[in-house]
Subunit: 276 residues, 4 copies
Amino acid sequence: MRPLIRRLGPALAGLVLIMLPAMGTSPWAQSPPGVAAAIDDLVAANRILYRQGVVDGFGHISIRHPDRKDRFLMSASLAPGRVSKADIMEFDLDAQPIDQRGRSIYSERFIHSEIYKARPDVNAVLHSHSPTVIPFSVSQVPMRPILNSAGFLAPNVPVFEMRHVAGSGSLLVTDGMRGRALAETLGDRPVALMRGHGNVVVGPTVQRVVARAIYTEVNARLLIQAITLGGPLVYIDAEEGRAGEGNRDRNEAGHGTDRIWQLWVEEAMGTSETKR
Amino acid sequence: MRPLIRRLGPALAGLVLIMLPAMGTSPWAQSPPGVAAAIDDLVAANRILYRQGVVDGFGHISIRHPDRKDRFLMSASLAPGRVSKADIMEFDLDAQPIDQRGRSIYSERFIHSEIYKARPDVNAVLHSHSPTVIPFSVSQVPMRPILNSAGFLAPNVPVFEMRHVAGSGSLLVTDGMRGRALAETLGDRPVALMRGHGNVVVGPTVQRVVARAIYTEVNARLLIQAITLGGPLVYIDAEEGRAGEGNRDRNEAGHGTDRIWQLWVEEAMGTSETKR
Amino acid sequence: MRPLIRRLGPALAGLVLIMLPAMGTSPWAQSPPGVAAAIDDLVAANRILYRQGVVDGFGHISIRHPDRKDRFLMSASLAPGRVSKADIMEFDLDAQPIDQRGRSIYSERFIHSEIYKARPDVNAVLHSHSPTVIPFSVSQVPMRPILNSAGFLAPNVPVFEMRHVAGSGSLLVTDGMRGRALAETLGDRPVALMRGHGNVVVGPTVQRVVARAIYTEVNARLLIQAITLGGPLVYIDAEEGRAGEGNRDRNEAGHGTDRIWQLWVEEAMGTSETKR
Amino acid sequence: MRPLIRRLGPALAGLVLIMLPAMGTSPWAQSPPGVAAAIDDLVAANRILYRQGVVDGFGHISIRHPDRKDRFLMSASLAPGRVSKADIMEFDLDAQPIDQRGRSIYSERFIHSEIYKARPDVNAVLHSHSPTVIPFSVSQVPMRPILNSAGFLAPNVPVFEMRHVAGSGSLLVTDGMRGRALAETLGDRPVALMRGHGNVVVGPTVQRVVARAIYTEVNARLLIQAITLGGPLVYIDAEEGRAGEGNRDRNEAGHGTDRIWQLWVEEAMGTSETKR
């Protein structure tokens, strides 16, 4: 859907008498360029994950602060599809907000802080309730990749079980102890499932995390269908997984993750001419 | 999709010559604040349940009257997606309309009246044909929660069988006797399935009822997929269910049900900027 | 989605300088009231069936001529979602167009003519490629109703096999002989499946045919899910089916098929305020 | 959704003061009529395949050059849903661009060049990650047609295994050797699956390729459902497949592929009045 002003452009061009200033001002208006770009990407990531069905009203995604490796950026406690620039806050690696100003914050922010501590290679973290990972999180059938775009799931995807950490009770990761246990289950991998709850997805950039989250969901759906067919399946093996990831590291316009990221941004931010 | 007036705002601001008064006047225009808020919530709930696929053209949701515990509010007989403020009517606990004025009324309104009688803790009741609960209502496989957000389904979900109440014939709950039998099957639980027909969902607030209805449908879809994978499954147990419900009782902006309710309202009422 | 003129109403009310006449004129402009209403319903039915996913670019629906029982009304050969009033043509019971004027006609129009000949009780006929009936048409598992809204499928749904009529070759019903064989398989029922092809759905009114087609598709999806769960299922029995149909015969605003037909028309014709 | 200018037509007709020229100019502005038509079809095909869910941000479709059988037309490296006329480039049968001007090109363009070399009857080639073909590509259950519209899949669909060609590693067809191996697996058929990756679909016209790709995906979904039901299935046999294809070769308005192509184009290019 094209933005209306653009659609009306020629027809109404002679009629625009008053342009009102945009309402509200972002605390980030004066950010250094690297931070401003990270905030733009983070808002887009929130909207994309909602539009693609990875999150509903719950879930949260963060970016490590580009200038301070001991901080990260994440929205105040909102549904991801409603996040705007002004909602992005800064947190330290104890998951404490730097400048809360009365805003609600996610109670599971310790997922992010503990993974950033444990994984210097990681610059973006997502926690989601991605629907089709749930069946794999509660069954003994492992999630494995059958789709080239999900080759990063090779060779295996661990499942985090809260009962082993804190007994039966809340499944939420609401403190550092629970966050550390989850980071330990994740190890050096890009994805871990959380039993009866969802998953965490990490990566070197927010674009890669978004793509990994979307293709984890797609792979889950297709793997259930393949298992329905019955008989042995051919999985993407570790070498194929590595080769695919190498390709997605290509940093050129039109290649790797770039090609689809542009599409996702245009659609989620309402700047696309694409009809779907 | 944003409402057009808002989208056109800046461009057409100088052109608005005449603002027509809204057409039609609601009988509720002079309601006390508590009733007015309940009616707003009830209209939103109808639209949300339609938009989220819990109801199609059938199904109905009610709120106990905020000032008179022996009455409830519910729409005249319309598809839920078409309900507006002016359609909301008042009923007594014999399911009789207080002020019918020739309007059609739902023939299954006894579901609501009998549950309000039996359950003083309940302030909102939904009857729906939520699609994916049907397979569980006609099979011997019990619906159980595998998803944290559906933990309220623990430890079990009863199935109402009309044949045991009135023999083979209409499945509709069209009188007090049938309504009482359904309320008895429901007991003190939040959800009961109705064989070959749908479900009833109840709760302390209409927001909780809407959320429970949506996650009952989501859980049903995911549980079918988990069963397709084969082998034993790990269900949300009673303690996990209680912990989750406690969290959803938190009454703060951005927490519990509030976070997702705001999103649902904006989308269903057309006031969202979110692109999906 | 609300029609734009209505959405713009207040804002642009002072600006409408010229109202252009609608382009094109329908040959039906001078029709008697009964025929005009039938044409309106038929256009709506085409659009609804497309919007609800019963037809894609193929399939066709007809109405028996309200004044001449030996004729029927049906679109020229177009995708149902593109049908407008001016496309509706009149056919005799040999499936010959009364006034072709060079327009393309459906090659399977004999489905309609032969069913109208064999079934005086039938006033509307649909042929569709309704997706989820295909699996039942090619397997030995019978389609049976598990959903109250699909109770008209009780006690059974026959499957038409073209190989028994004309050997292996085209599956299309392109002449009177094939149409008669299909009508014979249908018998006095509302629905027959066509192996590897789709179905026919008939009824006393076009509203009932549209509702039956939609709930046949819904029932097919839910029955596959129920079968996936495993174990014995409880089907809607013949008495329950009859009771449900009796209810759908109620001819009052807000009851039977009326409640959902209004919703479907508003959405398919773009006159709805409902957001979905 | 109708284009806004058209929707606003009558209301704003008196207000259009300035018509801005369209931005950007296509290198194809001066193309001979045959090439111009091919480019229009190719842009429409890209948009349709995205809208219908056959491609996401990946996949590519080409048309053999209408005047030079040793060249083909294909987009620069973009998500198919974002392709416009100005993005269409010309390639020779070694997959080299004739006039690159710094644009990114698809690394798997060898799929197209090698199939055009091997198949003089083919005038359009698609490579897609059509989701539901993946389960069949990784299992031992063959994809076979159960739907008349997918009869071109009879009698069988081969699966290309990159490990047999180049060992375990990248699954991408990035050179002539890999392209030739894929063309060999395809043989004289319209469709081949690529294990863990997607498919190739070819045909005499781009319209036929688009229709084949869409019905291959639809057939895959329905076949999984039919297999879920259990028991023996009746497949579309080779004679039925041939009869169906003969029908789709009819070159008349409203028949064969034409009826649905018009619908798809209108929707994907935003010129449709159809509400869906």
